[in-house]
Symmetry: C2
Subunit: 462 residues, 2 copies
């Protein structure tokens, strides 16, 4: 099949017009699709085509079959999980990256991939107030970043694991509000659930440092081997921030690897007024901040920072150390610092976002989101039918109807059925809780106001 | 910063014209960049910009700073590693996926992502001749796919690992020609190098089934616990195919998980004339085939197939089993089948490629690549200064000058300095070997001929 490049050019221009319209106004679609499981699968042939098809058929089916099955994360009414943005400059970067299809396995296979990754993660590092010792690299998701953190932590605690296998009995600490990816990462490493300590939290859902230290001492006394603490800056349910300074003290006292999961809230360290919440994270061994959460970059861009790249390399490099000296130290081979060998040119989109928005542009957007979340929190506090169930340090508000879980579940379902807004829920202290997360660049104060009014009206109906 | 959507539209159209020109003729660039390590980093500011910049500046710097640092994997003269293609329909898919930025964490967060992944991997599965029991999902790289295979293998062998931690002494088998990602995956799981058996190969670089079985029996007799065999269909150095039927017999006899790494060559199972080489792989527990290698899809699309999704889910799901019954079985939650939680809409580009090319279009392209590799092998055989050092079952040819390693190294360096072609090398039987891999859609028979003529001329000069 001979490719028709003129035909490609024509449809790609069509696609750009569609994309520009979409990015400017994703509101024309319902934020949540209205279809049953299997509907898309049933709408498509069970077998792929024998002969190639024209581009028209592809774009037509994209509109006819795919779009009605899309949950529109780029919709201004998307207020679920952590709202995020596929911003225009990032889309431009992804277009070019796909065409280049260049792959930064090691330096020579694409200097641009390797070096632009260092440049962009260096810029972000400075904006976050982290020192230059932090080496940065990009993974697809925070789950994968945190898996690397845990593997490096084990390498530090048990350097012989590489040769003779990991020894049993290593103990991992995180709060009971930590993200499930921490537990999943531990399972992959072969650390059983019995060796994961989920430390209790205080009334504001932050890890209790006293309980953490007691647990470590208890385990030590029992002959077990603590090796890693995972603190969270911005938990998934309530965006609470663990007491990072106190935890860093404990990690140092007990010589444990400290990983900070700041996948969502890390972005807010760019704001001087929020920086104090992060005090202590600069003493962590590793940190994850997802640009695809609150830094206006589409999936996938998880920024992983590690203050001990030597340990990371010992854990992941298969090149014997004695072969290294001849190398130019600036020709970094990122394959030596993690599992994936292929490395997509993800840095390009991030570079475009950082430059197009600038530090001030990002700060402005984050401040607006936080401000609207504070306003929403006040509106909730003023309506006696509702209660707010957690502080609002960033852009997520947790609340519930003062009623049973069933009423709250119904409330959520009706809002989500509207097609106008998508909210998510969580469970706190055994109760069903609604969550509103603000994070899309297209979302306005008016959207937040309308979401709240719809919630109030729906509560009236219940 | 207010986004200017008309400005975005204008530059995105400009980018499409650049992309269309590039895809049609990447030859205008040298395939390998001519710069020193650190040059790109030095050319960019050490700090990110305070204020947002205009799109013009982004595109101008893309051309000025980024392009000269790119290794052009999409160049028809790219004959290194495994040559691949960012094909036009896939670029179109990536553009739309970036704009949608929809995320298939679980079914509701994007039915389109989840279901199109099932549809496209189902089509490919049928084209590869694999039975319907194989459940498919997409990861970023084969390294990550194989890590999942090994974790599932451990779950089958040691189901209590999840709770009480992995027991030491599990033994993994692969050939000495297996890809480094297998060893790396094992290290992540905590399986030390002492517990990885690299089975010797025959004269054609295929795992020796007799040596494999002896090793298993020896380990069993020593009280160790064999748990997994990784066979390779298309090794990285020579594209040799391990004897899959004999290995499947052994895996069944010893009740071991069989993973088949077919990252590169798996695509060739679409050809009836090549299918016999793969006989036996349908009995594997898991298989990886990278669409971003020889299926004309840009990074990243690693198709992972697993015949025991129940085991995979046991290894990775954190949702208790008793919560599952209420779910619609067609609303698959892919987060339960692996480490990453976020899931980019990678299936869209793959769907576009499969439809635009059709089964026949792909077969035609693969046959052409294989045919040219055979021709090249003949030309090499006819030039007495050279020797071919491995059979050519697919599109990779391994050869060397009948001279010392140093001469071969110089030959490679001169070719790669030409800017016209990029070749890679490997080591076989302790000797430095040159490798030519054909896999880009833009590569023609004429390119292969010219590469060979340049090699001959360069050999004359040496």
């Amino acid at each position: 099949m001979k490719e028709d490049f003129e035909e490609f050019r024509r449809v790609a221009h069509q696609a750009v017009d569609w994309i520009a319209d979409y990015l400017e106004n994703a509101r024309r679609y319902p934020v949540l699709p209205r279809l049953k499981p299997g509907e898309l699968m049933d709408a498509l042939p069970g077998c792929g085509p024998e002969q190639g098809e024209p581009y028209e058929a592809l774009l037509a089916d994209f509109e006819r079959v795919v779009l009605p099955a899309v949950t529109h994360w780029n919709h201004p009414g998307y207020l679920a999980y952590f709202a995020c943005t596929g911003s225009p400059p990032a889309v431009l970067g992804e277009m070019l990256a796909a065409a280049l299809n260049t792959n930064g396995i090691h330096w020579l296979t694409s200097p641009a991939v390797v070096e632009l990754e260092q440049v962009t993660l260096g810029w972000l590092r400075q904006w976050l107030g982290l020192p230059a010792e932090f080496f940065g690299e990009i993974f697809d998701t925070a789950s994968v970043s945190s898996l690397h953190a845990l593997a490096a932590a084990r390498e530090m605690a048990d350097p012989e694991a590489r040769e003779r296998g990991a020894r049993p009995g290593l103990i991992l600490y995180c709060s009971e509000q930590a993200h499930s990816s921490i537990e999943k990462g531990a399972l992959v490493l072969g650390i059983g659930r019995q060796h994961i300590r989920k430390i209790p939290v205080d009334a504001e859902f932050r890890m209790r440092a006293d309980a953490l230290e007691q647990a470590i001492e208890r385990d030590r006394a029992a002959g077990l081997r603590p090796f890693c603490i995972v603190a969270t800056a911005g938990t998934t349910s309530t965006t609470s921030v663990d007491p990072l300074e106190a935890i860093a003290d404990i990690a140092e006292r007990h010589d444990l690897w400290l990983h900070v999961d700041a996948a969502y809230a890390g972005a807010a360290a760019m704001l001087p007024e929020k920086r104090p919440l992060f005090r202590g994270w600069e003493r962590a061994h590793s940190i994850v901040v997802n640009a695809h959460k609150w830094l206006f970059t589409p999936l996938d861009l998880s920024a992983f920072y590690c203050r001990r790249p030597d340990v990371l390399r010992r854990a992941f490099s298969l090149t014997p150390e004695y072969l290294r000296t001849a190398e130019d130290p600036r020709a970094i081979n990122l394959m030596d610092y993690g599992v994936p060998l292929g490395r997509r040119f993800r840095a390009l989109k991030f570079w475009f976002v950082l430059r197009r928005m600038g530090r001030q542009g990002i700060i402005e957007a984050l401040r607006a989101h936080i401000g609207w979340a504070q306003e929403l929190a006040r509106w909730i506090d003023e309506d006696s039918r509702f209660e707010r169930v957690a502080p609002v340090p960033f852009s997520v508000v947790c609340f519930r109807l003062r009623a049973g879980d069933e009423e709250n579940r119904q409330l959520l379902e009706r809002i989500n059925r509207s097609g106008r807004f998508f909210l998510s829920h969580t469970e706190l202290n055994g109760r069903y809780v609604l969550r509103i997360a603000i994070g899309n660049l297209g979302t306005t104060r008016q959207d937040v106001r309308e979401a709240w009014e719809l919630i109030q009206r729906t509560a009236d109906e219940l």
